[in-house]
Subunit: 358 residues, 2 copies
DNA sequence: TTGTATGCGTTATCAA
DNA sequence: TTGATAACGCATACAA
């Protein structure tokens, strides 16, 4: 990544000025303040620049001087490639990039691999502000973001004093799902949730781990289920909960298999993401279990595919979430931080839930 | 976006060193070369940093000094938000971000609104290299990319001497579609293509405009159709071709309407993207025209949805395309530019094409 | 293990 | 309309 066709040291503003026998200021103005010099001189400068292979003012040096990078950074709890693989992340990006376009700033996707404690990418991102999306409570990458001291908006994370945040009421949203299934008469229900900590771990989750979950959204969604169950007189400790590190269809399928292994008489499986729910559906189909007759299934997020397939789920406005995050970060007249935006969710009953058979 | 809780001028490496009565070098080492100083001193420095609110070495200043930004830029022929809306762009990003993750660099999405001649974002992006994706031949943003003189890989664009490129054989790929329909017996065929120039323009396209199309992929796909038709003895100038600026379902629907207006006896509609094809299908359904019995439809790209819906299309390996672009740009041992990667495509006959009636 | 000196390439300020 | 000067904040070669 360093093949340059040049010989001599690359031209700079200074070398160009020297060559022309004029000052650096004038050369700088030729690029940044065209009206500050005669069109004639400007043309001469630009031509000399071309002749010398001067590519124009160095962006980094300019940023150093102007204290503007012209970009904001997005950090999420995973590799960069996750951001363009997960439908929820993509939808969030849709809203966020809309605001970037409006403000004419770039968006830097910053790597934050949960397997790596390597925070360098966060510390060395040349940006004017950060959006942190769905990160674990003590993720060092998150701490690095906060430590940068640049304007920041956090999403789907616990409130941090003085920092703007955007989110939903996960607990309340998930209660709707539980109440729906309970009202239908389900009692033997399994739960498949996403990662609860930064370490790879798949398997059953005890109450202790549920309460200590490091991911705000997962913790609160489980809490919503728990309180609804308890209120309905269903012993929560009888409800099998399994965790999957990856939020993938495959993970959902294996979670379903594990749940049915724990209790083959389950009449419903609740998941904390639509993607996991797709996996559950897949596994049930493989086992020739009918949905919803044999097993009811629910998701969370309300992504397009889920709605199209009639999955019972909860819609959260992820595009709007990204948009609001962008607005908070990019607004013209900076406000003091610490604002809190809570977006509404909507329970979407679908065709994957019904009353259990007798 | 500028709310800082600080009073005095923000701390720097120098001010911190001064405060501690040590040299800047040592403070720098505390961050970048921990093994170069005693753990004790290092701790003292880091603590003082925290106390003074010093967020660590400034990334921009560091980049200026080290000549590394730790990020690459992606420029495509549209706003940033397009990159996360179009399924092909998303898939390309999937491959590209994989390589970013591997190389531990960030990805900067650079705005290049076709409506704006504003090239500043490209000129001022702090990056170590560029990927240019599907840009118009004389797009000023593309010229700005090339002018930057940083390592660059171009995708789905005409070869530029000395610049690495990745692409497919659009002409050949599209020929397969034409030959398929011709073999089935279709003769009255309409074509819906994507934008052929940077200016907004929807409507019929004459041969002149086809030949002068500024978008490499569109130009070649049309050429592929043309040569196949001519070879089969079908007069190309009888084939209605309509253009749509937006690559959207709505655009596809309106293109279908326009084509049927031009020739209500069409037995097949060819599109140059799956997304447009979805729109065509939608419009045909609205008109109670059956596919493929009344009208056959083809797409291009082979996106997931298209395959799932049985659209007759051409699959191109966009994920691999992004991956290869990333590899060329990020490889450890830089090679001289000018390499050319041409990826294979695959014609995928589906259920949306059949012989015309009678 | 620590410090000194220098330069990275630019823009802002102010004076001419 | 143009130019001189002074930062911007840091890392590196080299000396101590």
């Amino acid at each position: 990544m360093d093949r340059s066709p040049r010989r001599r040291p690359p031209a700079t503003l200074a070398s160009l000025a020297a060559e022309l026998g004029i000052s650096r200021t004038t050369v700088s103005n030729a690029y940044n303040r065209p009206e500050q010099l005669s069109a004639q001189l400007r043309t001469r400068i630009l031509e000399a620049a071309r002749a010398l292979g001067y590519p124009g003012p160095d962006p980094v040096a300019r940023s150093l001087r102007t204290k503007r990078a012209g970009a904001i950074g997005l950090v999420l709890a995973d590799k960069v490639s996750y951001a363009v693989r997960d439908p929820v992340a993509i939808a969030f990006l849709e809203g966020l990039t809309e605001e970037c376009d409006r403000a004419r700033v770039g968006l830097l996707l910053v790597p934050a691999d949960p397997d790596a404690e390597d925070v360098a990418a966060v510390a060395s991102a040349s940006i004017d502000g950060f959006v942190a999306f769905a990160m674990a409570d003590e993720d060092p990458h998150l701490e690095a973001v906060l430590a940068r001291g640049v304007p920041t908006v956090i999403c789907d994370q616990p409130v941090v004093p003085g920092v703007d945040s955007v989110g939903i009421d996960d607990e309340q949203a998930m209660r709707a799902v539980a109440e729906h299934l309970l009202a239908l008469g389900h009692r033997r229900i399994g739960v498949a949730c996403m990662r609860l900590g930064r370490a790879h771990r798949d398997g059953p989750v005890d109450l202790e781990r549920q309460l200590r979950a490091r991911y705000h959204a997962q913790r609160n969604r489980l809490a919503g289920l728990r309180s609804a169950f308890v209120e309905a007189g269903v012993a929560w400790d009888r409800i099998p909960v399994v965790e999957r590190f990856d939020n993938s269809v495959e993970a959902g399928a294996s979670a379903a298999a594990e749940l049915l292994g724990l209790d083959s008489g389950l009449t419903a499986i609740i998941t904390t993401s639509d993607v996991l729910a797709f996996g559950v559906l897949q596994e049930l189909e493989r086992r020739h279990q009918r949905v919803p007759q044999d097993v009811a299934v629910t998701g969370f997020d309300g992504v397009k595919d889920a709605v199209a397939r009639g999955l019972t789920t909860v819609h959260q406005p992820f595009v709007e979430k990204g948009r609001r995050a962008g607005q908070l970060l990019l607004e013209k007249n900076p406000q003091p931080g610490g604002r809190r935006v809570v977006l509404p969710t909507e329970f979407l009953p679908g065709s994957t839930t019904a009353a259990p058979r007798t």
